[in-house]
């Protein structure tokens, strides 16, 4: 005796939402590729595309990490930039002090992990994530200045670290790391109980709590992932340029957030994917690259970027509204 009389036909639309996002992004990428390829033939050269993805790699890696925080419903981290800076500085200091490479990479990343964990614990306790990360970022930046005495830290590695310059199969190592991290995080989000928990928390943290999901653990882990990924950016920078200073990564926070948003991850959490975030970073990088090739004025470039980011968020908002109304 079923008494359910319900408006049907909704589920089909809802199910297609994730697909709609992917289609939207793919369409965006294709349009950019076609338009730019037609107007700037150099744009479509393999070298240039690789250079573009390489340019997107650092922002992309940090954005993929931050996606976890966004998915848990804790908006964004405003300490990504500073975490990357302090990791880079520690890494350069360690290399400069003659540590073996593995230690110079692992120890700073461990510090990044602690930084992320501390913020995660604060947030899991119920403190606002924006304020926590804003405050943490300011404090970390101050500490970074204190430990460097505002000097550039030289890694002094005689030969360029392979981590910075290797090109397996002709593709820069940063791109490989980027791709691998995206794949890993995709699997983690889809296939592990941690990934499921992250999405469920973002969907409704109260229900998640009452369902016995390990919220604290998942939130702390999300902050650790975001922090460690930012740290990876720092390490990659050092590997690339053999040095680090506090003014590296200026403006990184906004770039990373923009990538997450252009990827269409819902700012209120629960919905999004690291693949889309990565694509978001790449779309922005392609756009920047194209405008550089086309010799646009700096101001014009910013205006167009603003329009693209704005257009993307309006489009995603529209798709989301359509599929949930």
């Amino acid at each position: 005796m079923s008494t359910i009389v319900e408006t049907a036909a909704k589920p089909r639309l809802v199910m297609s939402r994730a697909k709609a996002f992917n289609v939207a992004l793919a369409v965006g990428v294709v349009v950019v590729l076609i338009v730019s390829g037609l107007t700037q033939p150099e744009f479509l050269s393999a070298d240039n595309l690789v250079a573009t993805v390489r340019a997107a790699a650092l922002i992309g890696i940090a954005a993929v990490g931050m996606t976890f925080i966004t998915l848990t419903g804790n908006f964004v981290s405003l300490s990504t930039e500073q975490t990357a800076v302090i990791t880079a500085i520690l890494c350069a200091m360690a290399l400069g002090a003659g540590w073996p490479m593995w230690a110079a990479v692992v120890v700073p990343l461990a510090v990044a992990m602690v930084i992320g964990a501390l913020q995660g614990i604060f947030v899991a306790l119920g403190l606002n994530s924006i304020i926590t990360t804003l405050g943490a970022g300011a404090a970390i930046f101050g500490i970074a200045n204190v430990i460097t005495n505002s000097k550039t830290i030289q890694a002094r590695v005689p030969d360029p670290m392979w981590l910075g310059t290797a090109r397996p199969l002709g593709i820069p190592i940063q791109v490989w790391i980027f791709v691998v991290l995206v794949l890993i995080t995709m699997v983690v989000l889809r296939k592990t109980s941690f990934g499921r928990t992250v999405k469920m928390i973002g969907s409704n943290s109260n229900t998640a709590r009452s369902s016995g999901l390990r919220i604290t653990r998942a939130v702390v882990a999300s902050f650790i992932i975001a922090s460690v990924f930012a740290g990876i950016c720092g390490v990659l920078l050092v590997a690339q340029v053999n040095q680090a200073k506090t003014l590296n990564f200026t403006g990184f926070n906004i770039d990373v957030v923009a990538a997450v948003l252009v990827g269409g991850t819902a700012i209120q959490g629960g919905e999004g994917s690291t693949l889309r975030t990565a694509l978001g970073a790449i779309v922005i990088a392609m756009l920047t690259n194209y405008m550089l090739l086309a010799q646009y004025e700096y101001g014009t470039r910013l205006i167009i970027t603003g329009f693209v980011v704005g257009g993307a968020v309006i489009a995603f908002n529209w798709v989301r509204g359509k599929s949930s109304s």
């Binding site: 109980s193 469920m200 409704n204 369902s211």
Partner: protein, 514 residues
């Protein structure tokens, strides 16, 4: 109770469809001035569509609306307001951070310019007086009001906007009985002032108390209005369901198993004195009490949500007093709160993920999920709880209230629970879905599950439980087998009428809800 009132609102041959779903089909509805018209029907029968139509949120596909003899279209909320139709929201529309007076005039546009405390208070006073809130300071913050007071302030606000027709959408769903009495008195006062009330409810007892006539909706169609005086509970239920209800409540357990959950001298915030209880395998224990009686505190304490200050809790002999929520769940204790939207379901996730959410460990190995195991687990839960498996992929938020509640309760079956703790198992759920939930719970109990539920619905406690415990203000009043307690006694216990003399006889009759 003016049977002779002139026809105020006349809706004829209204149809409305969403896509290919026919929400209203050739519906007619009539309201006289100065009367209370009960609007009844199961969820999805078309009540809420009619309410939306009257409040101007949607427009009908066909049909006519006549107000005071003049044809009207109520295309927008403001047009509906201008026509004198006001909806007293089920979810309150008062802003907690504002004062009562500010709330009274918020959104009305009546008071322009400066909103100083004194000016608003003076304007607010007469409005509050009309709804019997003479002793309330208009400058108090709304956040400090009780739920019943909120409802009355809401009515006062609508009075201030010269509403002629009040639509009360399940006004008593979240009220204690004492507050219900106050709201009912105000409803009577409204009709005495010549205003008309459309009273939407699931609680049939209230129909007999307050309504003059009743219009029943069934599957998107309306039945002719009937004077309440010509109805009995049985005929009403029959009209409502289009069939005989038969037994709303399944038969009680024939025999009970060994003690499963033993609570000794438990004391926790919300309880004024320690309590003890023993629940057996296959037993359903009903904790009856109004809001704040401490009934739900017991459940929350067992679950490790609220702090247990003293006493012990044993599950099958194992001490789980100090267990936190995760531990309790892993031991086989499920808990469902009274607010499913808040912490019962994930509205934006599929039903399948909802059903499996409490049991992620059961379909994962070393942190890796298995989709096939998840599907089969969700399928098992769905079949156990009589849930249509084809709905597993839809978002839980798109289901009807009854089905959402089934998800919120049913998901606990995924952990193969030994004990299920439920607060208000059927709040905001229509009659048909209620019966289904009761039947499911009883079947589970017969299979050996122990269920403890807290409810302010006395009929539900009496009908569903094997054992009844009554609570009043943090005190356990009485423990009795359900068969041995009378409605009268329960109501007296939970309102403490035997000691204080506040509740009126009206309150007692409320328990004859289906």
């Amino acid at each position: 109770m003016t049977e002779t009132g002139v026809s105020l609102l006349d809706m004829k041959n209204i149809s409305k469809s969403y896509g290919h779903v026919q929400a209203l089909q050739d519906v007619s509805f009539n309201l006289r001035s100065g009367e209370v018209m009960a609007l009844l029907g199961e969820n999805g029968a078309g009540k809420s569509t009619l309410v939306k139509l009257l409040s101007g949120l949607i427009t009908p596909d066909s049909g006519s609306i006549t107000l005071n003899g003049e044809p009207r279209t109520l295309g927008t909320p403001s047009a509906a307001r201008a026509a004198g139709i006001a909806v007293v929201q089920q979810e309150f529309s008062l802003v907690p951070t504002l004062t009562i007076a500010e709330n009274l005039f918020l959104g009305s546009g009546d008071v322009r310019g400066l909103w100083t405390g004194k000016r608003l208070a003076n304007l607010a006073r007469p409005l509050l007086d009309t709804v019997g809130l003479e002793d309330l300071d208009p400058r108090r913050f709304v956040s400090s009001l009780s739920v019943g007071e909120l409802q009355l302030v809401e009515i006062a606000r609508l009075m201030g906007r010269n509403a002629e027709i009040f639509i009360l959408d399940e006004p008593t769903a979240a009220l204690s009985d004492v507050e219900i009495v106050r709201v009912m008195q105000v409803v009577k006062r409204l009709t005495a002032m010549g205003r008309s009330v459309i009273y939407v409810t699931h609680r049939l007892g209230e129909v007999f108390q307050i309504a003059d006539r009743a219009t029943i909706f069934r599957n998107g169609r309306s039945l002719d209005p009937v004077p309440v005086s010509e109805l009995t509970i049985d005929t009403l239920v029959e009209r409502l369901l289009g069939r005989h209800l038969g037994e709303m409540y399944p038969p009680r357990a024939a025999s009970l198993g060994a003690p499963r959950l033993e609570i000794k001298d438990l004391s926790t915030p919300g309880l004024s004195a320690p309590i003890s209880l023993t629940a057996r395998q296959g037993e359903i224990v009903g904790l009856a009490g109004q809001m704040g009686s401490g009934a739900s505190s017991v459940l929350r304490s067992v679950m490790g949500i609220s702090f247990t200050s003293s006493g012990t809790v044993h599950l099958d002999g194992t001490d789980i007093t100090k267990a936190n929520r995760q531990k309790a769940i892993s031991m086989g204790v499920g808990y469902c709160s009274d607010d499913r939207k808040f912490d019962g379901i994930f509205q934006l996730q599929s039903v399948m993920k909802n059903l499996s959410s409490a049991a992620i460990n059961r379909f994962s190995t070393a942190g890796w999920l298995s989709n096939s195991r998840e599907r089969s687990l969700a399928g098992q839960v769905a079949s156990k709880f009589a849930f249509d498996e084809s709905r597993l992929p839809s978002n839980a938020g798109n289901l009807s209230g009854g089905n959402q509640q089934k998800v919120a309760v049913g998901k606990w079956l995924a952990i193969s629970p030994k004990v299920l703790l439920v607060e208000e198992p059927t709040r905001g759920v229509d009659v048909g879905a209620r019966a289904e939930i009761y039947r499911n719970l009883r079947t589970l109990a017969d299979e050996g599950l122990t269920i403890i539920f807290a409810s302010s619905d006395m009929a539900e406690v009496k009908g569903l439980s094997d054992t009844v415990m009554t609570f009043y203000r943090g005190h356990l009043i009485r423990v009795l087998p359900a068969g041995e307690i009378t409605d009268q006694q329960m109501m007296l216990d939970v309102t403490h009428a035997s000691v204080s003399s506040t509740p009126t006889t009206d309150a007692v009759n409320l328990s004859d809800e289906v």
